[in-house]
């Protein structure tokens, strides 16, 4: 039981760390990967808390699709924070 709780709190700490990383990071590609890590750990947590339906949804939508849509958006705009599309063309 205590090992289970330690595992849960470790996963929660990992989620918070990934969230802080994706907020602080200036490179938007790395920030998006950080949000993907949040979703991945969250789906493991859902599975451990006996909600396999939600875990499947989170794994498919949060990890794969949302990340990919953000990456496509970054590819069509700019990669670094505070940079406009005109700077990239120069």
């Amino acid at each position: 039981m205590i090992i289970y709780l330690i595992l849960l709190f470790f996963l929660l700490a990992l989620m918070i760390a990934a969230a802080i990383y994706s907020v602080v990071q200036k490179d938007l590609l790395y920030a998006v990967i950080g949000t993907g890590v949040i979703s991945l750990v969250l789906s493991v947590l859902f599975y451990l808390l006996q909600a396999p339906d939600v875990a499947l949804t989170e794994a498919a939508i949060g990890v794969a699709l949302t990340t990919i849509i953000f990456i496509i958006t970054i590819r069509n705009t700019t990669r670094h924070e505070g940079e406009s599309k005109n700077d990239k063309a120069k």
Binding site: L5, L49, P52, I61, A64, I68
Partner: protein, 231 residues
Amino acid sequence: MKRILVIALLVVFGIYLAQALFMLEFGQQFFESGVKDLYLTASPLKLKVANTVTAIVVNFRGFDTLGEVTVLFLATTSMASILYKGRHKLGKRTVLFSASNIVTTGSKFLFPAIILLGAYVFIHGHLTPGGGFQGGTIVATGFLLMLLAYSDYKVSHIVLSVVESFAGITFATIGLFGLVYGGSFLENFLPTGILNNLVSGGVIPIIYIAVGLKVGAELTGLIYIALNEKD
């Protein structure tokens, strides 16, 4: 000053949230009685559906699912209308570097397996965890893998829109049939069969297959349009 105020507010909020969380324990039952008992007893006994979540999503709360499907349809349609550039202007994708031989061959092997997993998840939605939304998303990720591995991989827009419309019409028609025969939207009107059989649960497998096809077609079309967008 402003920053200190924000931090103080967050700390106070965090303390209250932590108090509320420490009052609960993981995996404990808090609601002694209520509507959950009805759901838990009625879904295996009356509807013959092993997965209670599916029974709630498709049968007891079926009208909400119609709203969810409509929201998804509207979101993908509006995003497609923003990104759409005309069928003939949908040019070749710009690729930074082409995928290597290992990636293309590996994704060719993985693609049928992913599609099969997605189909399994939405066909077995009433027996095992998962359902139409999850299975459809898994199918869409399979197409995404092929689109990423092959820069000239094409998805037919006509097939996608036909599948999507057909699935949506099936969902709404079954719901209306339930309204006519059973008295409420999405009410079961087919024989329920035996618990844990593949063909059981009345209309629930048909609805989940329709939802799965619809979600898969919508998300595949969305990714295809987004990837092909040219400036």
